[in-house]
Symmetry: C2
Subunit: 383 residues, 2 copies
Amino acid sequence: MSVTAAKGFTAAGIAAGIKENGNPDLALVVNVGPRRAAAGVFTSNRVKAAPVLWSEQVLKTGQVSAVVLNSGGANACTGPKGFQDTHATAEKAAEVLGRGAVEVAVCSTGLIGVLLPMDKLLAGVETAAAQLSEHGGEKAAIAIKTTDTVHKTSVVTKDGWTVGGMAKGAGMLAPGLATMLVVLTTDADVDAGTLDEALRAATRVTFDRVDSDGCMSTNDTVLLLASGASGTTPEYAEFADAVRAVCDDLGQQLIRDAEGASKDIKVEVINAASEDDAVEVGRSIARNNLLKCALHGEDPNWGRVLSAIGTTRAAFEPDRLNVAINGVWVCKDGGVGEDREKVDMRYREVHIVADLAAGSETATIWTNDLTADYVHENSAYSS
Amino acid sequence: MSVTAAKGFTAAGIAAGIKENGNPDLALVVNVGPRRAAAGVFTSNRVKAAPVLWSEQVLKTGQVSAVVLNSGGANACTGPKGFQDTHATAEKAAEVLGRGAVEVAVCSTGLIGVLLPMDKLLAGVETAAAQLSEHGGEKAAIAIKTTDTVHKTSVVTKDGWTVGGMAKGAGMLAPGLATMLVVLTTDADVDAGTLDEALRAATRVTFDRVDSDGCMSTNDTVLLLASGASGTTPEYAEFADAVRAVCDDLGQQLIRDAEGASKDIKVEVINAASEDDAVEVGRSIARNNLLKCALHGEDPNWGRVLSAIGTTRAAFEPDRLNVAINGVWVCKDGGVGEDREKVDMRYREVHIVADLAAGSETATIWTNDLTADYVHENSAYSS
């Protein structure tokens, strides 16, 4: 499954010794063709890790033969040496696979500001190449985990073609994109332009709307590789739907595994004057630490929702706002609505609806609660 | 001291029964003149509490005779009834003090979305009026506490005139302004226009740069009242300095008492292309949950500082950024700098310097760490 669910791909995941604890930390995904079309979306953080700077250049060719991914180190804020290391990694993979380095994308994740142990990493690329398999998708997904408690994979199979993928990410999930590495593969026979269009359309409404802690990573990368091995060229709409479905599923898995979270929170903004307004309001609610604490405490504190909406530039009148929590309209016309005692907060999923009463646009942002476990996980050691 | 340090003011603080635990919850500050000039700064949250909407109108006259402040309820998101309640509070104070209601400002703090117990509040105004005293400033400061562990007062005395004040605020400290109520008084003989200019200049670089948890309140109010009782009209610059000094001191007290905090963090942005850039970068760093957790864990995780800088629109080149933590330049030219082991993180104060190498402007934002205690305090009960 995972990146090897679609025909025309092999993968491997191994322990190269980059992580001190000996866990798997290096994955390799290879497109064996016949087509090698690819598209990529990268972090909008202006401080970009070396592998992001490299892979952005690779993707400009619209062609990717292989992806090397490592956990155990982000290779971010590592200066010219860090970039040389990424380049050397691509060269090594190109050499062992008999491809050009310019067709090898590189992704890294882990602590910022530390150089990678290149001897181990380069040796690991050789080892991984020797283990490449049409069944290696699962191992690859496991090797890219950092603080993830589970590995994340997803597959959608259509009439004769497939889109599958793997993702890693648990903290620092925020737009543009979440802190995550994602590799999607398909055996559909589509060109790079189509891949790019479908991938951007999908990430805009999935990964870009997953906002765990408002923090934006230096390393986020989402790649979509097409082998053409199915010999089928689907209709664009159907293909885009499949890509979005896989992205949506992986995004949900990221939120469910967010560091320390005890609640998955769906923030649905309705009746906004524009989609941008809906997204801005949704993000403001999703990033409100006080609300996230209250929801952790199973307190349907709608005042904190209104307080968050009030910080935005979206079109709304304060005395026309309505808020529902888990189906109960606890705030009506900007004031007290139904009895908050009616809100059942016992379950992991929390559904907030914010009605701006200003139009007909809508957007949904996914986040999670703020917990003592999150604080512990992000203060007890460097990550 | 507090609001009665300056001549021409009386104050009182009592337990009116608004708080269920019986703690003091109602304060009254009266300007006995001869002058009654005033200025005010209010939250920029678009969802404003009833007392903010009322007091904004009062301040348009440039004159305030009295301020009624209550803790135990924010009277925010309470609709037309909430506004009527604020109006009735001002009318009651006007009646017992023999002033016009339009000269009575009202401030409330506490849970959003709950109506105040008006019978208790109005009776409390009468009780407080009977206890007004030139020594009542301390009791008034105590009565406006919510989750504050200590009450906050400050006084600056100059040649023949004084500026003093009180503040409350512990969580939800964020610009525009922090979640706080502040009343400043002076016996300097200055007009409303001068008060307004001095107050705005002071809050812009003090309360507006205190950002505990990125959350902006619906109730923030800072008032400055002048009695003219000293008979002295200071030079503007000297007066503005004194107002800023009191605001700065109270702002520091707010940060030191922030909910659950174990570290006071000073984020100093230097060599920015503009002051706006410096403030934007400072806020981005101050609001980064991952960094705030790391600092709680005494981890000088400068990668999270760079990651936060990278999300801004400020002018900078990633490979020219420098970051010092407690005097050690752990990041130089966007990469690894001095040994992070040299950073001494044992003390409560943490000093981050972010050098954008893009100009000569500077700004300082104050925040605190993110702790399990913060989560507990904001999830265990409604606030």
